[in-house]
Amino acid sequence: MMRCPTCLVELEGGFPELGRHIFKQQRLADAGHITWINRYVSKTRTDEDTFISKVIAVFQNDSLKEWIIHQFVKKFYGDDPHRFVIAMQRPSKFVLLGYAYEHHHFLKQWVKSCASIISNTDIEEVQHYELDNISSEWRGSGNTVPSHHELLLRMGESYGAKREDIYSTEALDPTKLAISTWDYICRDLTFVEGMAAMHSLELIANRNIKNYGSPIGYFDPEILSDGSVTKETAEFLKEGYMADVIHSEVALDLIEKYSKKLNIVQPVQAVVMKSMEEFDNYLNARLERGEMLENK
């Protein structure tokens, strides 16, 4: 079984069938499929057979984990890093407020996605992994260790946002759309695809990102101590910085292991690409929210 990285449709057969599906969609001038071709295959039109061989090359890998890291770094950290990552190097008050407002909705979905993954498998190491993730992101432990979500709200408050405002402000459309895609993937596809959609995204704040060929990190570590952001922001960023390394790398190992066992490596790759596309829009929504608050 193959899965289309754009519309997520399941296709019987192998790479030739996948290649023909995408090729047909571009002939119909479908925007999503053309965007995918431009990004991963080529901007220059070729005949169908050459196209199919290039599609095979996109998915070619020796290690799924490394392939995911490579694609993620290329998309968000390469020669042309995402604008949100650039803005985070020395973030302004409004960028951080935009972060707080939109990420609240992201995390509300996150916990549900983790729960969907748990409900879609009997494998205990996967369930345990997701439970740990839920507690660090959403629940915290006891009165001493706040959740990542709580730290996010405190960051927003430190810049004057009210908790009630963050709760009562609807997410922007791109955030909503991204959330509904993640919800669908985690509920209705296999637990491995669910994990791949969500946990690949934790690479965004991975401290090791520079070891994977990125010239910059998620933020300039100096801001944690030079007073350019609030203490609450430093707490929030530091937590993610430490946690996401463990989260995302352990998850990538599990994803690789079970996608091979279930023979669904290509569908997992397709879902990762789709999830990155949504994440790109979602990061832009954080920026747009920041601009909206600034111009209010």
Binding site: A31, T35, I37, N38, K43, R83, P174, N281
Partner: protein, 87 residues
């Protein structure tokens, strides 16, 4: 918009039939033309020059006779505008 040679999508913009790869690129171009007109009060645009890409956004200059209007914009992947500003 994306410099691609894939797809084939025609749309009439300002009475001129133009070729795009897809409807999203056509939407972006059409919205951009409307925004330039709103900002300048022009009835038509002679030429537009765009530099940049999807991620960076695009630095542009539009001309109408001797007049020039410089601006920047960036969109989501579905073509919805994130930013449009005069430069």
């Amino acid at each position: 918009m994306c410099n691609a040679t894939w797809g084939e999508y025609w749309r009439d913009i300002d009475g001129e039939s133009m070729l795009f790869c897809c409807d999203v690129c056509a939407d972006i171009f059409q919205t951009m033309v409307n925004k330039v007109k709103e900002n300048t009060g022009w009835n038509s645009i002679d030429s537009v020059n765009l530099v940049g890409n999807y991620n960076k956004g695009r630095e542009c200059s539009a001309k109408n006779g001797d007049e020039e209007f410089k601006y920047y914009f960036r969109t989501y992947s579905n073509g919805k505008f994130i930013t449009f500003e005069k430069r």
